[in-house]
Each structure stands twice: as structure tokens, then as C-alpha cells.
Amino acid sequence: MRGSRPHRRVLLHVPTYLRRYSRGEGTLHVSGATLLTLDDVLRAVDRRSPGFRFRIVDERGQLRAHVRMFVARAPHGPQGTRDLELELEDQDEVFVAAAHSVG
């Protein structure tokens, strides 16, 4: 179809402290034709589980302090990023990680 967007499927790995938004699931399959960037993935999950994105992204649209995202794209391992506009490819794996150095 002319002008159609490719359908992307992304695997999001949910850290334990955010699994209240994923009904306890450690991974979420997120898919859609509008899934272009990292932020699109977060927004897609947020539509299902309101509040999820706000735990990761502040009201300036930036990743919160002490948080980094990683994208793994075969054949490479996870690469860290804070760029929410990073474009994704089909079958990418996305990770959310936080620094756990405080008591």
C-alpha cells in the first residue's frame, strides 16, 4: 500500500521495580506501525498502563536522573542511550536500567 509504514515489533524488558505496570511480566511485546522511536515504545506502554512513562521521563521530556535506556540490535549487544528520539528497527530489544547505589 502506498505510504504505509512498516510494522515494528519490539521487546521491552521491564525492570522489577516497574512491573506493577506490566502485571508482573518481565517482558512486554510492543508492536505497531507508529512505533518509530524509543519514546513511542514508552508511550505505547503508557496507554495500557498509565503512569509508566512518567516514571521514566520527566515533564521536560527527558530521561530522569539515574536512569538510562539500552537498545540491543542483532548482532550487537545493548547500547546505552538517553536519546528518546532514537529510531528503532523491527525486533529491537529495549531495556530500562536505573542506578541502584543508594540505601
Binding site: 521495580y17 516497574l18 498509565p50 503512569g51 512518567f54 516514571r55 521514566i56 520527566d58 515533564e59 521536560r60 530522569r64 536522573a65 539515574h66 536512569v67 536505573a98 542506578a99 541502584h100 543508594v102
Partner: protein
């Protein structure tokens, strides 16, 4: 120094009877502490939100009795949890307090945490107010589901002049606290800015003015010589006398103060506390039955501000004459080697007669008195650092 008496009729509430439930916010979650009818035996619940910091947890005293908890994990931002069944189940605010995009020329601000929760006026069911760090005021009209900024304050053209900037703030961040709603008028509000002072609105938050004259700010260069300074102060806790909403009490960084609103200036009534105790502290509670009676918990504010009980000997101090005199109340509390203090949201009362008082400590204990402070008993131990204690309800 004694303060002038109010000229209007007091509205003394009827005392309550029965079992008390306290809600405890801590650095690592929230708890409920429940008594039986005589308030002698207490049971602590399993934690809610274990691992999250709960700065304030409050049950709405109006119809509906929603409970809100202002929570934050260290990494994953602030939120507000809601329960409509006294904590059996919780959901999350769809839109927690967040600052609007800034006006041009000002820096964008990010809510670090919601610090204070106040239910609205009885004539406005479903209305709540929240105070945040950085300092911001927010309002919900739907029982805490969504929140909007009160930009009459958050974007006030004088705000930076009143409060300074982030560089001026304390390491934990400045907080907006002590959100007070006049029980006679839902549009009459007071707030405390820990970096700025006490401010008042008569139009529901559309416009604000400082209310700090008479209050010291001796940490500022002009402090001791400037009793008429309008802003820049550091109130720790401000409260209205429940039986006289034109009387305000304030525990400030620089002392204990009282104001009758028609007078309009603060009088330092804490100066009558013993010199070796001082009148520095965080919380203040006023009797629901007598606007002349209040309790404070002084802390060591000397030198580098250890912020522990003076000499390691904790005590509540009570005045029954507007601060003209003070009585030490420490029976049952540790006599020495108790190096803790009580934060600003950690001293409360249950409106019983005789009055029950409850305090939560930085060392994770809850202490209670069922005789107006004359004697104290430890009700719970081994909790995390306590950030707030509120009375959720009294059940006959």
C-alpha cells in the same frame, strides 16, 4: 511576650471517642498503626509501597474518605497513589503533579517529589491540594486522579524574587508545605515555602502575597535588623488553630511564632522557652479545643545543626497561654542518648478528650500520649525514618 487575643467567637469542635488509626509515611513505604477503643494497644500493619519514599499519606476526613499517598522511588519519579477502600487496594493518579512548560525566560522545573497533601474545603468535595519540591502548588478536583498546577503561584512574576533559585536551596530541595484552607472560605489559602516564607491568597490561588512581617530570617545578611522583611524566610510548619482560624501558629527555622490575622505580624512566642533548649524545631500542633495551646518539639539548632534532640534528651514542650510560658513534657520518653528528632509532618493529635498526641521519629519510632502530652509510650519501633504521621480516623 504574650500575643493579643482574638475578638471573635471560637468554634470548638466536639471531642471524638474510640479507636484511632494513624497513617505513617516513611523513607521506605507507608504503614497504618491502629488502636483499640482505649488507645492502649496498637498494631502496625504490613507496609504499603515498600521501598518507595512516602512523604505524606492522608485520609480525607470528608465524605468518601479517599486516602492519598505522595510517593517517590529514588530513580523513578514521583507519583500519588489513591485508595478508596482504606488501603485494601490502590491505583495511581492518571496525571500526578507536574509543572507546566515554563514562561519564556524562565527555566523548566521538574517535580522531584510531592511533599504535602491537604484535603480541600468541605464545600468542595473531591478537591485536594499538593505541595511539591521544587516549590509548587497543585490542585485536584477529582479526588487525586488528576492534578493541575496553581500557576497563580507557580508562575507568579515575583516567585524567584521571593524564593531565590535552585542554587539557594537546601540539599534536600526546598518544599511547599503547610497548605491551609480557611474552614470558613474555600478561596482563602495559606502556604509555607521553606525557601521564601508564608504566603496567602484570598481568591483561591489566583493571586498571592507574603505574610512574614515580624518573623526573623537571621540566616540572611539583613536578618536581625529587618523585622519588616517581606520574604525569604524559612517556615518549617504553619497551622491554623482549629477553633479559631484567624490564629496562625508557626514553627520557623528561627523560632516559634504566633499571629492573629487581624494584627498581621508574627510575634516570637518561642523566645520564652529555656535558652538551653531554644525554639528551633520542625513540627507544631495546636489544640483543637483551645487556640492558646500548642505543642512543639525543639531540636538542636546550634553550630552545624545536628537536628537531634537537644543534649540527646527528647521532649515535647507545651504552652497553654500563647507562649507566655512553656511546660516540658517528657515522661516516658528516653532521658538521654536519644539522638533523633521529629520532622514537620510527624506530630499530630486525635481530637479526643483528653487529647491524644502522636509523634514519629527520625529513628523509626512512633510515640503516643493519651493525656495531652503528660506521659508518653512507644507504640511502634523498627520502622524506617518517619516522614509523616496523620490521623486517618477515629472509630467509635
Amino acid at each position: 511576650m504574650s500575643a493579643p487575643r482574638p475578638k471573635h467567637t471560637l468554634q470548638v469542635p466536639r471531642p471524638k471517642r474510640g479507636a484511632v488509626t494513624l497513617l505513617i509515611g516513611t523513607r521506605k513505604g507507608a504503614f497504618a498503626l491502629r488502636s483499640e477503643a482505649e488507645r492502649k494497644e496498637w498494631t502496625v500493619s504490613a507496609p504499603w509501597f515498600l521501598g518507595s519514599t512516602v512523604h505524606h499519606i492522608v485520609r480525607d476526613p470528608r465524605v468518601g474518605a479517599t486516602t492519598l499517598a505522595a510517593a517517590r522511588t529514588v530513580h523513578h519519579g514521583p507519583t500519588i497513589f489513591r485508595s478508596e477502600d482504606k488501603g485494601k487496594t490502590w491505583d495511581e493518579a492518571r496525571r500526578p503533579p507536574t509543572f507546566d512548560a515554563p514562561l519564556s525566560g524562565t527555566a523548566a522545573r521538574v517535580v522531584n517529589h510531592t511533599f504535602w497533601l491537604t484535603p480541600g474545603h468541605p464545600l468542595e468535595p473531591g478537591v485536594w491540594y499538593a505541595g511539591t519540591s521544587p516549590q509548587g502548588l497543585f490542585k485536584s478536583r477529582d479526588d487525586g486522579k488528576t492534578w493541575k498546577p496553581v500557576n497563580g503561584l507557580n508562575q507568579h512574576p515575583e516567585l524567584e524574587r521571593w524564593t531565590g533559585d535552585e542554587q539557594d536551596g537546601p540539599p534536600d530541595g526546598p518544599q511547599l508545605h503547610s497548605i491551609l484552607v480557611d474552614p470558613r472560605d474555600p478561596r482563602h489559602l495559606y502556604v509555607g515555602l521553606s525557601q521564601g516564607g508564608v504566603f496567602e491568597s484570598a481568591d483561591g490561588g489566583g493571586s498571592w502575597g507574603p505574610l512574614n512581617r515580624g518573623c526573623a530570617a537571621d540566616f540572611l545578611p539583613s536578618g536581625p535588623r529587618d523585622p519588616e522583611r517581606e520574604f525569604g524566610h524559612d517556615p518549617h510548619c504553619v497551622t491554623l488553630a482549629p477553633s479559631n482560624p484567624d490564629r496562625l501558629w508557626q514553627q520557623n527555622r528561627c523560632g516559634v511564632y504566633l499571629m492573629d490575622r487581624e494584627v498581621g505580624t508574627w510575634a516570637r512566642v518561642g523566645a520564652n522557652l529555656p535558652a538551653d533548649i531554644g525554639d528551633i524545631g520542625f513540627p507544631i500542633v495546636v489544640s483543637p479545643f483551645d487556640p492558646d495551646m500548642a505543642w512543639v518539639f525543639p531540636m538542636d539548632g546550634s553550630d552545624d545543626w545536628p537536628r537531634t534532640a537537644p543534649g540527646g534528651s527528647p521532649a515535647v514542650w507545651r504552652t497553654s497561654d500563647c507562649g507566655a510560658s512553656w511546660e516540658r513534657q517528657d515522661r516516658g520518653l528516653p532521658k538521654d542518648n536519644a539522638w533523633w528528632t521529629v520532622k514537620r509532618q510527624c506530630l499530630t493529635q486525635d481530637r479526643h478528650d483528653p487529647l491524644g498526641l502522636y509523634l514519629g521519629t527520625t529513628s523509626g519510632e512512633i510515640w503516643g500520649s493519651i493525656n495531652g502530652g503528660r506521659s508518653w509510650k512507644c507504640l511502634a519501633r523498627h520502622l524506617p525514618h518517619v516522614y509523616s504521621v496523620s490521623v486517618a480516623g477515629v472509630t467509635a
